[in-house]
């Protein structure tokens, strides 16, 4: 199948790649752009390890075709920390021991960031339902939920 030229923006940078029309955005990020921070845990949109935002909307990149990124803005885990340092969520994940194997961590961080944009002051229940699309098999979610709530509190304080 002939490939399609895709021009898009990833983490603020303009990028181009050639995508087989059958390839997912996740395949393109990982195999064509070398951005292996987004993970494939299921390929069916059930685990959230491949979470990215597409024009600020949280998606499973395994359910988006690479060619659909044309002209849009993709943000991945690789763009979460900036030159000034880690995002508060990243710092709080380390501080609260909210990761063990770390494989679900990129997707959880991207999903948590999207959650806090929508709801800067979530209850525990709102965090749990907000992250229900991201599977973690190691932690039992306890420390993840605490880390997200602590990061949200810090971000609210900074914003105030």
């Amino acid at each position: 199948m002939s490939k399609i030229h895709v021009t898009t923006t990833v983490n603020g940078d303009p990028v181009e790649f050639l995508a087989d029309p059958r390839e997912t955005l996740l395949d393109c990020l990982r195999d064509h752009l070398g951005l292996t921070g987004s993970k494939e845990g299921c390929g069916t949109g059930d685990c959230g390890a491949c979470s990215v935002t597409l024009d600020d909307r949280l998606v499973c990149s395994c359910l988006v075709l690479g060619v659909e990124a044309e002209g849009r803005r993709v943000d991945t885990i690789e763009g979460m920390a900036d030159a000034d340092g880690l995002h508060p969520l990243q710092r709080k994940f380390i501080e609260h021991a909210a990761l063990q194997c770390g494989f679900c961590t990129p997707g959880l961080l991207v999903a948590a960031k999207a959650l806090l944009v929508q709801n800067p002051d979530p209850t525990e229940e709102e965090v749990r339902y907000g992250l229900a699309g991201n599977l973690c098999r190691c932690t039992g979610y306890d420390k993840i939920v605490r880390a997200v709530m602590d990061a949200a509190a810090e971000m609210r304080q900074e914003a105030a």
Partner: protein
């Protein structure tokens, strides 16, 4: 021992950031599928759609004709004549004459892209003759069940057993009939648990390269790089030392990544493709269909109890299928089943049974959760019948150091009584319960494991230290080992870097399994640090012109041991290291052994549930894990093990199960249908770390990884009965099963 008694530690027991944290929150950490190599090919595997079938023919010509296809392999490409576990591994890697389960690999292909490899796999034509199959363990043990493999039974199986029984065991002590006669109440129950999957979020992935000269390399997500090396070498007939295996970061294992699946296929494909590296990444469906689920179990338990709660005798008969190969953990299930109880009369009988399912792999305390489900459920039922407090009955019968274990030997230092007392004192037990709510308690046990261990430590020129370990870090063990090493050397935590190294860098290490990494690699690192300290003291003594014995190591520096040794200011590790080139060369330490002194770990869980009488849905309201850690080196990651184990046990209890259709095909090979707990299914999981130090470890460590998955299965069943009066004796206790039990209880 109370925590206050060992305040002398500077670092042990603190919660610093883990050394791999930054890589993991930024997406930089490299897992199995994240590595690529120049000239790399992609592999894909053809799998049997049948539970049991003779492979009549495999036609690879259409696949081989596809552009970009560089190699196709079938069993014909593997050496013959293997026996025992090597043969089992080879047969499971690639089917021979018969496909033995839905998902069994029958061919593999390598091509220039992932899509091309998948397309080529679809062009391989396999002709099958479908054979009768068997899935359920109670069906598989019938005398007229379809025979899965002639001659698979080992010497433990007496003549006349059904054909799929491949291992048989009996053990115990005392006289159970006399013990039952002493009891005021004797009850028995039949219990079943379904197979579950470890459910690590990272699918198996590897990049293998093998040349015509027999030299190869592999990058792979695994719990044990030396196991991968040994098993691949065995299956392919290679020299082990010629295969260099590098472990990637690992996205969870829980026992399922202690063995091989498609790794030998990547090497075989690479060899056939002229030595080009071949990457194979499993799909989730391949993971669920073809990699290590745990066993399913059918269990009968009989227990005798006096009116005051004293246990007089117990008997267990367990049947477990572990797929189409020997190796279900029925032995471990029996060993652990009654382990928390002092029993003068106990008997165990076990059957390891073949069925047309994938070869089971270890899963967190293999066997123990099933045995606990049966035993802890029945004990709870009997406490209810006699009007006894299940916590008091557990304390009354609890084993202590020196008691004979139900499985035979006497217990060394254990902390069950301390664990039960801490549980009883926890405020969760005083929380009021509302309508349709109930509380359940259960205990759990795991032996823990030592295993072959090799660790090297080297002092750097600036006085920092690097530690090379062979046990992949799954849950934060690099942090724990850095803490213990830094504590021993008397230097800051940040001055130690712990690296998980490839097979070429150390002697043989067993995998990170059996809750052994922090115990075994940690103990070896401490002993290696001790060697380096001895050498640094010797160098300081030589500088000072005094005897090495007159030098002691205090706070990261050599100093004269007392006024008689001489008056010299302390010589710091940085000073000694900075001059090591002039004082005798590199300073290092090394330790290798099968470390003695494994400390077993008991746990007790308390769960509060609410059962929806309309739907049968069980909601976990509150959850408490209390477990003996010996000593928590990094308490946050000990809590993490407790919480993660509990969450997996909750999934096993309530939702997770392998579901087969009447053709023996797995019906739920995706996460949508194989439903593991999500964040909104769980509450916060409260933990109490009990610390009864293990005298066999320099800092008192007991393994903590496995025990926690064991109690949730029975604790939740006990809580459901407390809430509703209905007793569930089979897993999973999903809404349809709970609803049926509620209806049956109402009707009764």
């Amino acid at each position: 021992m109370a925590k206050d008694e060992f305040k002398e530690f500077r670092l042990v027991g603190t919660r610093p950031d883990r050394p791999d944290g930054l890589d993991k929150v930024t997406g930089r950490a490299r897992y199995g599928a994240d590595i690529s190599a120049p000239g790399m090919l992609w592999g894909a595997v053809v799998r049997s759609p049948h539970a049991h079938a003779r492979i009549v023919s495999i036609d690879t010509s259409r696949a081989e004709a596809l552009e970009g296809v560089k190699a196709v392999v079938t069993r014909a490409d593997f050496p013959t004549g293997l026996t025992g576990e090597d043969w089992d591994l080879q047969e499971n890697t690639m089917a021979g004459e018969r496909a033995l389960y839905d998902g069994h690999a029958v061919a593999a292909v390598a091509a220039t892209s992932k899509l091309r490899a998948e397309e080529a796999a679809r062009l391989i034509d396999v002709t099958y003759e479908v054979l009768p199959h068997v899935i359920d363990v109670d069906d598989a043990i019938k005398p007229d069940a379809p025979v899965i493999r002639e001659g698979a039974a080992d010497a433990t199986v007496p003549e006349g057993m059904p054909p799929n029984v491949v291992r048989y065991m009996e053990f115990g002590h005392g006289n159970v009939e006399a013990g039952f006669a002493e009891a005021d109440l004797v009850r028995e129950g039949h219990y079943k648990t379904e197979a579950t999957h470890q459910g690590y979020i990272e699918p198996h992935a590897c990049l293998g390269q093998l040349g015509g000269d027999g030299k190869g390399e592999m990058w792979v997500c695994t719990q044990g790089q030396w196991f991968i090396r040994k098993m691949c070498a065995g299956v392919l007939g290679l020299d082990a030392a010629q295969l260099r295996v590098t472990p990637s970061e690992i996205g969870g294992g829980f026992g399922g990544k202690t063995t091989i699946f498609m790794e030998p296929l990547s090497l075989a494909l690479s060899r056939k493709a002229g030595g080009k590296p071949v990457k194979i990444v499993m799909t989730r469906s391949e993971v669920l269909r073809a990699t290590g689920p745990t066993a399913s179990a059918s269990m009968d338990v009989r227990i005798g109890m006096k009116k005051d709660g004293t246990l007089t005798a117990a008997r267990a008969e367990f049947r477990m299928q572990g797929g189409a190969f020997p190796g279900s953990p029925v032995d471990m299930a029996l060993y652990c089943a009654f382990a928390p109880y002092k029993l003068d009369h106990v008997a165990h009988v076990g059957y390891d049974v073949l069925a047309n399912r994938p070869k089971c792999a270890a899963y967190r305390a293999p066997g123990s959760p099933m045995g606990a489900f049966a035993v802890e459920s029945l004990i709870d039922e009997m406490c209810r019948e006699l009007g006894l407090d299940p916590m008091e009955v557990r304390l009354k019968n609890a084993v202590r150091e020196g008691d004979r274990a139900s499985y035979g030997p006497k217990f060394a230092s254990i902390g069950l009584v301390e664990t039960l007392e801490a549980t009883r004192a926890h405020p969760n037990l005083a929380e009021p319960l509302g309508p349709n709510q109930g509380r359940g308690v259960a205990s759990g046990y795991w032996f823990n494991h030592n295993g072959e261990t090799s660790v090297s430590l080297a002092i750097s020129e600036d006085g920092t230290a690097q530690v090379s370990i062979g046990t992949p870090d799954i849950g934060g063990s690099r942090a724990s080992i850095a803490l213990m090493t830094a504590e021993t050397l008397g230097i800051p935590y940040e001055d130690v870097r712990v690296n998980v190294v490839e097979t070429g860098a150390l002697g043989v290490n067993e995998p990170t399994h059996g809750s052994r990494a922090t115990f075994a690699s940690g103990k070896a690192a401490v002993l290696a640090a001790g060697q380096a300290i001895t050498e640094m003291c010797r160098r300081a003594a030589a500088e000072w012109g005094i005897e090495p014995e007159a030098v002691e190591w205090v706070d990261g520096a050599a100093q004269p041991a007392g006024p008689n040794a001489g008056k010299f200011p302390p010589m710091s590790i940085a000073e000694i290291a900075g001059k090591m080139g002039e004082t005798g060369g590199p300073i290092s330490g090394h330790h290798e052994s099968v470390p003695e002194g494994v400390g077993a770990s008991f746990g007790c869980h308390v769960v509060d549930v609410e059962v929806d009488p309309e739907t049968g849905r069980v909601t976990i309201l509150r959850y408490l894990v209390v477990q003996d850690a010996g000593r928590a080196i990094h308490p946050a990651y000990v809590e993490g093990q407790y919480q993660g184990g509990a969450a997996q046990g909750i999934g096993w209890a309530l939702n997770e199960a392998y579901i087969y259709d009447d053709k023996g095909r797995l019906q739920n090979p995706v996460f949508l249908d194989y439903r593991v707990p999500v964040a909104s299914d769980l509450p916060m999981i409260d933990t109490v770390i009990v610390e009864v130090p293990n005298p066999g470890h320099p800092y008192g460590v007991r393994g903590v990884g496995e025990t926690g998955i064991t109690p949730p299965l029975p604790a939740i069943a006990n809580a459901i009965q407390d809430a509703t009066g209905a007793r569930l004796r089979a897993l999973p206790m999903n809404p349809p099963a709970v609803l049926a039990a509620l209806k049956a209880a109402r009707g009764a």
